[in-house]
C-alpha cells in the first residue's frame, strides 16, 4: 500500500507541530490514543473571541495519523468553535485519500478535535 501524495507531504512537512502550555488562557487540549495500534495524538487549540486563532499537534504514530492531525490543525485555524465541531473524519479521509485500513487514523484526529474543544469549553465554563 502506498501513501497518497498528500499524506507524504504532511508527513514530510508537518504543519503546526508543537504544543502550547496547557494552563494558558484560551487553550484547549485533546489527548487521545488508539489502543489497537498504540498511536498517541495530542491536539491543542488556542481560542480568542470564539475563534480558533492557532492550533498545534504532536503525534506518535504512523504516517496517516501524523498527516490526519497535521491537516486537522490546518483546518482548525480561523474556524469558530461551532464550525470546528462540524469537522468529520470522513472529510479527512477524502482530503488525504486514506485507504480503508487507515480510516481509524482519521477517527483518532476527529476524537482529538472533539476532546480539545471539550477541554476548552470546560475551562471556559469553570471561569
Amino acid at each position: 500500500m502506498a501513501y497518497s501524495d498528500k499524506v507524504v507531504d504532511h508527513f514530510n512537512n508537518p504543519r503546526n507541530m508543537g504544543s502550547f502550555k496547557k494552563d494558558e488562557d484560551g487553550v484547549g487540549t485533546g489527548m487521545v490514543g488508539a489502543p489497537e495500534c498504540g498511536d498517541v495524538m495530542k491536539l491543542q487549540i488556542k481560542v480568542q473571541n470564539d475563534t480558533i486563532v492557532d492550533a498545534k499537534f504532536k503525534t506518535f504514530g504512523c504516517g496517516s495519523a501524523i498527516a490526519s492531525s497535521s491537516l486537522a490543525t490546518e483546518w482548525l485555524k480561523g474556524k469558530t468553535i461551532e464550525e470546528a465541531q462540524k469537522i468529520k473524519n470522513t472529510d479527512i479521509v477524502q482530503e488525504l485519500n486514506l485507504p480503508p485500513v487507515k480510516i481509524h487514523c482519521s477517527v483518532l484526529a476527529e476524537d482529538a478535535i472533539k476532546a480539545a474543544l471539550a477541554d476548552y469549553q470546560k475551562k471556559a465554563d469553570s471561569k
Binding site: M31, V32, G33, P35, E36, G38, K42, K58, F60
Partner: protein, 238 residues
C-alpha cells in the same frame, strides 16, 4: 466448578443439536463429525475458540491440554487426509484447518488470549471506553521529541552520546513498567478465573466481571502504548 463445566457443555450440545449434517441431513450431535455418515462438519463461525478446544473460558489455561487437543484436531482436519474425498469435504477440511490454526495461535499467547476474551465478553472491545492515560501520553510524546533530537543529531557528537545514555536508562525503566503491567494482567487472570469457577450470576458478580474486564482493557491498552515507544526507542539507539 462442576456445575459450571456442566452448563458450558449443555450449551455446546444445544448449539450442535441445532445443526444438521450437510451431507445426510441428520442431526449432528458429535463434535466435528456426523455420527451417521461420518462426514467432517464445518466448524461453526459462532463457535468461540475456547469451546472449539473444549476448554473452559478461563485465562490461565493448561498449555499441555491445549496443545494435545490442537494436534488431535489438526490430524482430524488435515487437508492431506481429504485428498481422495469430495470437493465439499476438501473445502471444509481447509476451512477448519485455517480456523484451528488461528484459534491455537490466539489462545497460546496470554496477551492475545486476554484480548480475545475481552472481545468475546464485551462485544466490540471499543464498547468499553478507556480513559486515556494523560500522564503516559505526555511522557510518550516527550520521549518522542528526544528521539527526534537523537535522529537529527550527529551520531558521533558528545551530545548524542549522552542522549543515548539517558535513553538507555529510560528504556530499562519502560521495560520494567511493561513487565509490571504483565504481572498485573496475570493477577487479573487469576481473579477472572476464580469468578468463572464460582459461576454465580449475582449482581455483585456481574459488577466484579465488568471491573476486571475494564481493568484488563486499560492495562492491555497501556501496555501497547509502552511497547510501541520501547520499540521505537530501541530502533533509534541501536
Amino acid at each position: 466448578m462442576d456445575g459450571h463445566t456442566h452448563s458450558t457443555s449443555d450449551r455446546r450440545e444445544l448449539q450442535m443439536a441445532r445443526s444438521m449434517c450437510w451431507h445426510c441431513q441428520s442431526e449432528v450431535s458429535g463434535e466435528y463429525f456426523c455420527d451417521r455418515c461420518v462426514k467432517v462438519q464445518p466448524v461453526s463461525k459462532e463457535l468461540d475458540y475456547f469451546t472449539c478446544f473444549g476448554i473452559p473460558r478461563r485465562l490461565s489455561i493448561d498449555q499441555q491440554q491445549l496443545e494435545t487437543k490442537f494436534y488431535e484436531l489438526s490430524r482430524a482436519f488435515h487437508p492431506d487426509f481429504y485428498q481422495n474425498k469430495s470437493g465439499a469435504e476438501q473445502t471444509i477440511s481447509l476451512g477448519n484447518s485455517a480456523m484451528l490454526n488461528t484459534a491455537y495461535r490466539t489462545l497460546r499467547d496470554p496477551i492475545q488470549r486476554a484480548e480475545y476474551l475481552l472481545d468475546l465478553e464485551a462485544g466490540a472491545v471499543k464498547e468499553i471506553r478507556t480513559t486515556p492515560p494523560a500522564d503516559l501520553f505526555e511522557e510518550i510524546l516527550e520521549l518522542q521529541d528526544t528521539l527526534n533530537e537523537v535522529r537529527a543529531s550527529d551520531r558521533t557528537s558528545d551530545a548524542a552520546a549522552s542522549l543515548r545514555a539517558a535513553l538507555q536508562s529510560k528504556r530499562a525503566t519502560l521495560e520494567q513498567r511493561q513487565r509490571d503491567m504483565e504481572a498485573q494482567i496475570q493477577q487479573l487472570f487469576g481473579q477472572w478465573d476464580a469468578l468463572q469457577d464460582r459461576g454465580d450470576a449475582t449482581e455483585q458478580a456481574r459488577a466484579e466481571r465488568t471491573r476486571i474486564l475494564k481493568e484488563m482493557r486499560d492495562i492491555l491498552s497501556n501496555r501497547t502504548y509502552v511497547k510501541n515507544i520501547v520499540n521505537d526507542l530501541v530502533a533509534t539507539i541501536a
